[in-house]
């Protein structure tokens, strides 16, 4: 792919997506795009298909209709090598962390490096330790196994693994769910810091209103099987849809808004 394309084209773009399981239609005529360098929050009720949309955008699931473009290129037209190159530009933090339970944290982070680079192993180990440090895990956790980690630590370790190849595009599925407020705030800070340091584009599925208010540039709302609106938070709050009104008008939202403003 040429440099010009890569610098200007949106890293990820979905157009006219149709997803269904049997007769159960999850997405219909869904349009969505993520611009370079922004943090987009994706919200929607439970079971509306946010995780499924993420899988579709990652290429884990082929949609029944519509096209996905990465950096301006249609996914179906990519060669195997191009596809692999683009996959290396994407990092994912799955909802449950999805760490390999038979490997230590450090080995988990080394897996992508082993697979896609030919660095000497000691250097890989050092780079893995740097990622462990960057996501705010104590150095001792390098040799721990996932079953020995707390929920928040698992998320951080999963994030460290998703960053190991220095991706351009990062997908996060409910990164702060299940974290205590302090931990969640720290995680938000971390994401902001990483974006600045690593020039990331981030799409995060979240239910955490604090995250939406503090770190997201745009908020996309998944209702009625499509992205009804994807815009800055004030505009999304104005949007006329019962679910959106309820979501942003609720007591939790007002509290978060107040906290975000002060």
């Amino acid at each position: 792919m040429s440099i010009e394309d890569k610098d200007t084209a949106p890293p990820m773009e979905a157009h006219g997506i149709l997803t269904q399981f049997g007769t159960n239609v999850i997405h219909e005529n869904l349009d969505f795009r993520v611009e370079k360098g922004e943090i987009v929050g994706l919200v929607g009720g439970s079971g509306t298909g946010k995780s499924v949309l993420l899988n579709t955008m990652l290429g884990l699931k082929e949609p029944e209709g519509g096209i996905i473009r990465y950096f301006g290129r249609d996914r179906t037209e990519l060669t195997k090598e191009e596809r692999e190159a683009i996959n290396n530009e994407m990092g994912v933090l799955f909802q449950g962390g999805a760490l390999f339970s038979s490997l230590s944290v450090r080995e988990n982070i080394m897996v992508p490096l082993r697979e896609h680079t030919d660095l000497p192993v000691p250097l890989m180990r050092e780079l893995a330790d740097m990622k462990i440090h960057m996501v705010g895990l104590p150095a001792q956790s390098a040799t721990l196994y996932p079953s020995d980690l707390s929920g928040g630590m698992k998320k951080r370790a999963g994030l460290a693994r998703s960053l190991s190849l220095d991706p351009k595009l990062l997908f996060l599925d409910e990164p702060t769910a299940g974290l205590d407020p302090v931990g969640a705030n720290a995680f938000d800070e971390l994401i902001l810091g990483l974006r600045e340091a690593m020039d990331l584009t981030i799409l995060m599925i979240t239910h955490d209103l604090d995250s939406l208010y503090t770190i997201c540039d745009r908020v996309a709302v998944l209702v009625d099987k499509r992205i009804a609106i994807a815009d800055t938070l004030p505009k999304v709050q104005e949007y006329d849809h019962p679910w959106v009104k309820e979501y942003f008008g609720g007591p939790r939202s007002r509290a978060a808004l107040k906290a975000g403003k002060t």
């Binding site: 450090r106 680079t117 000497p120 780079l127 740097m130 960057m134 150095a139 220095d166 810091g193």
Partner: protein, 381 residues
């Protein structure tokens, strides 16, 4: 990486003034570049003596974490210590990245080093594990019987729904394979007996051979081994997966006894299924023997076959075979469940526990069968 084709190689200029050095990188410092530059840079830095590092990123192209980590090599002195450093020219992003890298080289990551006595330690641990394993299995069997008899007094508390579905899984679904396998075994015994005994002119004794071996030993043991392999792995994997996802913990907290809900239904299902399967196996094995006797060269008619079977083998061999099956059933169920409950968080433990469960139960079935053989011999049965 997609930027491979158009990235320029990482280079740098190092200059020293008094006790400070200036590091001026150019080109792209990215993951695919660092392997080549690392040894050169590290060697050069080690030769220098300085207290302060200035970074000038004016000519720097792309930078990622791996590149920043290389830069940070200049500030590392030893564990927990580093030189002073300043980024004189560079964007905010580059500075942040540099900060992260410099902080990272400060912390001392733990290293696992191997010792010469590690293998001895492992040997000792394995021995210890063997004894605790035996001890714990016995303790588990004890606890099982305590709960089992308690439940027998109050049969309404038994989870009959799951018992029935387990019987379908363990018994009904295994019936075809048990019948087929015992048919083959019976046929093989019959052929061997026929050809061996024919040389003594005593082919009719093959009926005794088939009857005794199939009814007394082969059908019970083949069925038990088959169920041990088939259902034990399933028990361990099911319960182990529940353990991994904390379902077992949830049950305990809710007040469900894991023995009552998981172990006892499986044991009852095995207790019901195994005798029936063994019976089917016996029938199939004997039937195979009869077919071979009838159609083979020795030409013993079915009527004659059953007459002789009745006279010399009798119903005793059948009962001797049958009486063992409840013991096998309990062994299989208990070992499978115990290994499942012993699974810890990792996928590896699930795998090793499943293997252990199958190996242990087959071992136990054969060992118990041998004990029965000695016992019956001593009793003159």
């Amino acid at each position: 990486m997609s930027s491979n084709s158009n990235s320029s190689p990482a280079k740098y200029v190092l200059t020293q003034e008094d006790r400070s050095i200036t590091f001026r990188p150019n080109g792209d410092w990215t993951l695919d570049q660092v392997a080549a530059i690392d040894p050169v840079l590290t060697a050069e830095l080690q030769a220098l003596d300085y207290d302060m590092v200035y970074y000038d990123f004016t000519d720097l192209g792309e930078l990622d974490t791996a590149g920043a980590y290389m830069f940070a090599r200049a500030v590392r002195i030893g564990p927990g210590q580093r030189h002073f450093w300043v980024v004189t020219e560079g964007t905010k992003g580059q500075q942040t990245l540099m900060q992260a890298a410099a902080d990272a080289v400060k912390g001392k990551p733990p290293v696992v080093d191997r010792q010469w006595y590690d293998s001895l330690t492992r040997l000792g641990k394995a021995t210890e594990r063997f004894f605790t394993e035996v001890f714990e299995t016995l303790a588990f069997i004890g606890k099982f019987f305590a709960v089992f008899f308690k439940l027998m007094l109050r049969p309404r508390q038994i989870r009959w729904n799951s018992v029935v579905s387990l019987i379908e899984e363990i018994g009904l679904n295994a019936a075809p394979i048990v019948v087929t396998l015992c048919f083959f075994i019976g046929a093989v015994i019959a052929y061997m007996g026929a050809s061996l005994l024919a040389s003594f002119g005593a082919s009719v004794f093959m009926v005794d051979l088939v009857g005794v071996s199939v009814l007394r030993e082969l059908a019970p043991i083949i069925t038990a081994i088959l169920i041990a392999g088939r259902s034990d792995s399933a028990f361990t994997a099911q319960i182990g997966a529940m353990k991994m996802r904390q379902e077992v913990d949830a049950m305990t907290v809710i007040g469900l006894d894991t023995f009552e809900t998981l172990v006892v239904p499986r044991a009852i299902a095995c207790l019901v299924s195994l005798p029936i399967l063994t019976f089917l196996g016996m029938m199939s094995g004997v039937f195979a023997g009869m077919l071979i006797a009838w159609t083979g060269e020795i030409d013993i008619s079915p009527v004659l076959f059953f007459q002789r079977l009745n006279e010399v083998v009798g119903v005793k061999a059948f009962w001797v075979g049958m009486v063992k099956t409840p013991f096998f059933a309990v062994i299989i169920a208990v070992i499978g469940c115990r290994q499942g409950l012993a699974v810890t968080g990792s996928v590896e433990s699930l795998g090793s526990r499943t293997t252990q469960s199958v190996v242990q139960s087959i071992f136990a079935v054969i060992a118990v069968n041998a004990i029965f053989a000695i016992l019956f011999y001593q009793m003159g049965i």
